[in-house]
């Protein structure tokens, strides 16, 4: 089969900008995101970039970006359109959707779209779940390639190198496939101004959960959010000798004496 004309769906999430350090609300109900800079999840940017590169290579010819969230996640959809995606879809959802919710929504969208390649980030940097792609693959009963650092599409199959504990693992799987992106897959480009202007005219549809016949899951309930134990800055030492003698007396580990190997 000709591998051209494939369809890709990229799921993107609006999250706190990765440079911002969050604060926990005084009532410990959640983190405080008021007046916080929000951006596209960095792993989703990598996913968008990869889809655009597949399009530039003539392998993919339609890229749909989907974001599930309140109206303002349209900002991130527009950014993805400016980077080269063709169409956007916002699924209106005012509460935080769980990974299984997002996977079920994407499964519904797939029924209409029939995409060949799903690209998701490996992890959202807010909830740090690392789950959605794997769940989507399970629901679609299709193969998954998580933490991808290299993707090759040929002959209706994907050859993906994954970052795993201990090194790299390369696997081959038939399309359709769900791939989640790791940091070293690519370096996302910046959108040029004319592209940002063009993106305003690209189609951006909105659907509700009711349109998709989705009821959100309730099995995980957030009880409270607290700050982690605070680490105090310690003391500054003046020399390597001072450092070694301090570690010998203070650290709870064996620091070898001169001449002996650990």
């Amino acid at each position: 089969m000709n591998t051209n004309h494939l369809k890709a769906i990229v799921a993107i999430k609006r999250v706190i900008d990765y440079n911002v350090k969050v604060r926990v609300k005084a009532d410990l109900s959640d983190v405080d995101l008021s007046n916080t800079k929000m951006s596209m999840n960095p792993f989703c940017e990598i996913a968008v970039e990869e889809a655009v590169r597949l399009k530039e290579a003539g392998i993919v010819d339609d890229i749909l970006v989907v974001s599930i969230g309140p109206k303002n996640c349209q900002e991130q959809i527009r950014s993805a359109l400016a980077l080269g995606a063709d169409r956007g879809l916002q699924v209106e959802c005012d509460v935080s959707a769980s990974p299984l919710d997002v996977a079920r929504i994407l499964q519904k969208i797939q029924q209409e779209e029939g995409a060949d390649i799903f690209l998701l980030g490996k992890q959202s940097i807010d909830t740090d779940n690392n789950q959605t792609g794997q769940m989507l693959a399970a629901l679609l009963d299709c193969p998954q390639a998580t933490c991808a650092s290299r993707i090759q599409i040929e002959q209706n199959k994907a050859i993906v190198t994954r970052e795993v504990d201990g090194g790299l693992l390369t696997v081959e799987m038939p399309l359709p496939v769900v791939i989640t992106t790791d940091l070293r897959l690519n370096e996302p480009r910046f959108a040029a101004l004319p592209k940002i202007m063009q993106a305003k005219r690209k189609p951006l549809a909105v659907k509700t959960l009711a349109d998709l016949d989705i009821k959100l899951t309730t099995d995980i309930e957030l009880i409270s959010v607290s700050s982690p134990a605070h680490r105090q800055a310690g003391i500054m030492l003046n020399s390597v000798d001072e450092l070694i003698s301090t570690l010998r007396s203070d650290a709870q580990v064996q620091i070898p004496k001169h001449g002996e190997e650990a």
């Binding site: 998954q144 790299l168 500054m236």
Partner: protein
């Protein structure tokens, strides 16, 4: 009800992460089964049966499981769900790949990176790169958790004489669409990052793959594992699996030496629970000093060889 742990192993021995997961599972206070899926695992299973705290070892032996894929394992594990209230995996790349796939087949959410078990349905887990800790309640009929191994420890019991029962699962191998192509493992005689007592990590400032020998020499003197920041991995100085941080390995050794690492929040997320942190950086303003117990403002190319020479 019972707990099921999905073992991670190299066909000969269980990984340390699985033993730590057992330590976490014991806090649930209910019988524990261990599933070992692999090929030619009878010896491994007999050994596992002597580990105190395991009630039953379930084995699933098949040539296709020598390199197990989540596509094959998940449906079989999901089918066992009615027997278990909890299914636990380590938050390793294996566990993170598999747990959500099982959960989706069971129709439930999973919890990643549990750092504390408050009760059999309440847990703590870090969010926002560890800058906040969420307490969550899980009311799923079968709770699927991955365990952050730096937050728990393996049971210290001696092997028991009363062997756990070993039970071979009789299941048909689900068809897996995934074909193995190749694996590039970083060979190292140094301790593993997630179980090392001491870790020496190098950052962008190390400057090249060749220069990393400065870090390796110190690590070898200390009997330490070697880690790195994302910048050092991205630049190709060192293998990807040695990245410490929010999106890499999370470690909590007794002693962590950060060398030429600025201390970005994503890096801190992976090491700030270390017992003692030492930072060596030539910039006195580097944020890493704000979490370090001991800081030394120095050029790493002077300080590290000097330290190695003096040990």
């Amino acid at each position: 009800m019972k707990t099921l742990i999905i073992a991670e192993h190299n066909q000969h021995a269980l990984k340390a992460a699985t033993l730590v997961t057992l330590g976490a599972a014991q806090q649930l206070g209910q019988p524990i089964d261990l599933l070992i899926a692999g090929h030619e695992i009878s010896e491994l299973s007999q050994d596992a049966a002597t580990i105190a705290g395991i009630d039953r070892v379930l084995t699933w032996d098949h040539a296709m499981l020598a390199i197990p894929f989540s596509e094959t394992l998940a449906p079989v594990i999901a089918n066992l769900r009615s027997q278990y209230s909890h299914i636990l995996l380590a938050s390793s790349s294996f566990g993170k790949d598999l747990a959500p796939r099982i959960a989706a087949l069971c129709g439930v959410n999973a919890l990643s990176d549990v750092i504390e078990i408050i009760s059999p349905n309440q847990y703590k887990r870090p969010i926002y790169a560890g800058n906040a800790i969420a307490t969550v309640k899980n009311s799923a009929s079968c709770q699927i958790l991955t365990i952050r191994t730096s937050a728990f420890s393996a049971p210290t019991h001696e092997p028991t004489a009363s062997l756990a029962q070993v039970h071979a699962l009789s299941v048909e191998l689900p068809h897996s669409p995934v074909r193995f192509v190749k694996q590039t493992l970083s060979e190292s005689s140094r301790p593993e990052l997630n179980s090392a007592e001491i870790i020496v990590s190098g950052g962008r400032a190390v400057g090249s793959e060749a220069n990393f020998s400065v870090i390796y020499d110190l690590a070898d003197k200390l009997g330490a594992a070697v880690g790195a920041s994302r910048a050092a991995v991205d630049a190709g100085y060192i293998a990807n699996d040695l990245q410490v941080g929010q999106t890499g390995q999370v470690v909590a050794p007794s002693l962590y030496l950060a060398v030429g690492i600025s201390g970005a929040i994503q890096h801190l997320a992976g090491m700030k629970d270390s017992k003692v942190i030492v930072a060596i950086n030539n910039d006195p303003e580097a944020p890493i000093f704000s979490v370090a117990d001991y800081g030394l403002v120095a050029d790493l190319f002077d300080a590290i060889p000097a330290m190695t020479a003096r040990l």
